[in-house]
């Protein structure tokens, strides 16, 4: 894992030289090149995550499938309707009266071997310190190949202008209720009244995205770099989400992973996800029997 990280941090430098070569070869306008150069010069740097391999363990026995993680995520990251950084899948199996229901919380797996990073032609999707799969909005051309590449359905495109609802100036009751736009004007915030300014870091200095690009979970890098847990971890009412550093032998995640046989989603694809699932959503007991024929 350490090796992988070294490669990541160097990766940007290497890319830069190659890019410079290409610049010469293609002979594109120097001004354009300067922009790209200056952009890539500020490569994502999260110094306090150097040497860390961040991971999440989701304890399904603690999870009750309430969705608070995903709602809180939208809240923290100013995510619009129809887009999700954290999501879920549910499944009902069996036939009445022997029925089982399961809930699987999902989020970006921050794969060590991330298909989205491999396929992204502009390196908008890239690995940064801590093993985080980061996305640079300004580099994103919206080709959606990361979405195609991701086996976990956790990257979403902005097909429409986000939060468009809040730009409407229609009132329900003329003079007695506000239009969405007026609410934002009166309450404050930016585009949405629930705008969280804390999210501006690492995302072009804006807590919002825009039409055309994709977006996904960042492991709350703006919080994690400050020594705070990802917001979904904080808000999970069942304490089902446990976060930590795989490179720290004494971290809580390693403690749990040593106790249970952990499962990762679609592990056979070799993506090496950093989100682990332990225990069962329903650990029910049953009456002992050998069954019958």
């Amino acid at each position: 894992m350490g090796k992988r990280k070294d490669k990541d941090t160097q990766g940007d430098k290497k890319g830069l030289t190659r890019r410079e070569l290409l610049l010469g070869a293609t002979g594109f306008a120097v001004a354009t090149g300067a922009i790209v150069h200056s952009v890539s010069a500020q490569t994502s740097n999260r110094p306090n995550l150097e040497g860390k391999e961040l991971a999440m363990v989701i304890d399904l026995q603690r999870c009750t499938g309430c969705g608070a993680c995903a709602i809180a995520c939208k809240n923290e990251n100013n995510v619009q309707d129809g887009v999700a950084w954290a999501w879920h899948e549910t499944r009902t199996t069996g036939t009445f009266p022997n029925v089982q229901y399961e809930y699987m919380p999902t989020l970006c797996n921050h794969c060590q071997n991330a298909p989205c990073v491999r396929l992204c032609p502009t390196k908008a999707m890239h690995k940064v310190a801590g093993g985080i799969t980061a996305h640079t909005p300004e580099k994103c051309i919206g080709c959606k190949s990361c979405i195609a590449a991701c086996p976990y359905k956790v990257i979403t495109p902005n097909k429409k202008e986000p939060h468009k609802f809040w730009k409407s100036d229609e009132q329900l009751f003329a003079g007695a209720s506000d239009s969405p736009k007026e609410v934002v004007e009166k309450v404050g915030g930016d585009t949405i009244p629930l705008y969280n300014p804390d999210r501006e870091q690492f995302l072009e200095g804006s807590g919002l995205r825009y039409k055309g690009i994709v977006e996904k979970c960042t492991f709350c890098d703006h919080r994690v770099t400050q020594g705070k847990l990802p917001y979904c971890v904080e808000r999970c009412p069942t304490k089902a989400r446990i976060f930590g550093d795989l490179n720290d032998p004494n971290s809580k995640v390693n403690e749990i992973l040593s106790k249970y046989s952990a499962k990762r989603l679609r592990e056979y694809l070799g993506t090496e996800p950093k989100v682990f699932y332990v225990r069962e959503f329903n650990p029910a007991t049953y009456r002992k029997s050998k069954g019958s024929v």
């Binding site: 491999r118 992204c120 032609p121 390196k123 195609a148 086996p151 979403t156 609802f165 989603l265 993506t271």
Partner: protein, 290 residues
């Protein structure tokens, strides 16, 4: 209220169309080069096919760029190179191929076919050959790079795409030639088309055998295409109209009226496009994460 359902569809019909046009361009270029230099019987088609290539490729590029969420950032593709990404490579394949195909068509357009025999020119044209092949098939590698999509993750896919490119390139040439009227030996081209389609059907069969004997995701997608919603497109359009019809027309009928040639070649084009649609859209049927 706007209902905003969280969904994760990435490539839509526009990408399928681009894949189709890219393949077609590669196919028509190869046909033109072959006709011009090697197969004298097809020589009359060299010009038509040479024109088709850059026109179709330009259309494909346009579709590709318009599909981008941020089309005005397309320039970034040339300034960043991700060696791991087929997409990143493809940008260059496409650009170089497009440039060569323009140059190549230019000689026909200016009526200077003689110059094509010039050694240096010939070298450029020959360099175009691998780029034509790459352009017609790299798009399949993009799909292969999505490990979680069973339908896409097949080593046969580039072959299917490339062969499909040849089919569409030949079919398009036949179509244009038949519209422009009275070209001799169109039947020979038709036979070539038929054998290419038969080869494609063979590849498809192998593909299905692989899928049906694979893991549950493979079986699921195979059933989805053969018997599920996509079956409505697969059997009648891709197989019957797109494959059996042109083969039947070109292989079993000697004397053909012009319109039936046009219909049969159009059917073959539809067949290839349908195949792209089914692969691109059908391949994205969500997989249960449990």
């Amino acid at each position: 209220m706007e209902i905003a359902i969280v969904e994760h569809m990435s490539y839509d019909w526009r990408i399928a169309l681009y894949f189709f046009l890219g393949g077609l361009a590669g196919g028509s270029y190869l046909l033109s080069v072959a006709a011009n230099y090697w197969i004298t019987g097809f020589k009359p088609f060299a010009r038509t096919a040479a024109y088709i290539t850059p026109v179709v490729l330009a259309a494909g590029l346009l579709v590709l760029i318009l599909d981008l969420g941020k089309p005005f950032r397309a320039w970034r593709l040339f300034l960043t190179f991700n060696a791991a990404s087929a997409l990143s490579w493809g940008v260059w394949f496409l650009s170089i191929f497009f440039a060569i195909s323009v140059v190549y068509a230019y000689f026909f357009f200016m009526g200077k076919e003689d110059l094509l025999e010039n050694k240096k020119v010939k070298l450029i044209v020959y360099i175009g050959i691998p780029f034509a092949i790459l352009t017609a098939s790299y798009t399949a590698v993009i799909l292969i790079q999505a490990p979680g999509r069973a339908l896409w993750h097949s080593p046969l896919l580039p072959v299917l795409f490339f062969n499909g490119g040849l089919i569409s390139g030949v079919a398009a040439t036949i179509l244009v030639a038949s519209i422009r009227g009275g070209t001799a030996n169109i039947g020979g081209l038709g036979k070539l088309l038929s054998w290419l389609i038969i080869a494609e059907l063979g590849f498809l069969l192998i593909e299905f055998i692989v899928l049906m004997n694979g893991g549950k995701e493979y079986v699921r997608i195979a059933k989805h295409i053969a018997t599920g919603d996509w079956g409505l497109l697969f059997w009648p359009v891709e197989i019957v109209i797109g494959s059996i019809l042109p083969v039947a027309v070109f292989l079993f009928f000697k004397k053909l009226p012009a319109y039936s040639i046009a219909i049969a070649s159009t059917a073959a084009l539809i067949g290839v496009f349908t195949m792209r649609i089914i692969v691109v859209l059908g391949g994205q049927v969500p997989t249960n994460l449990f």
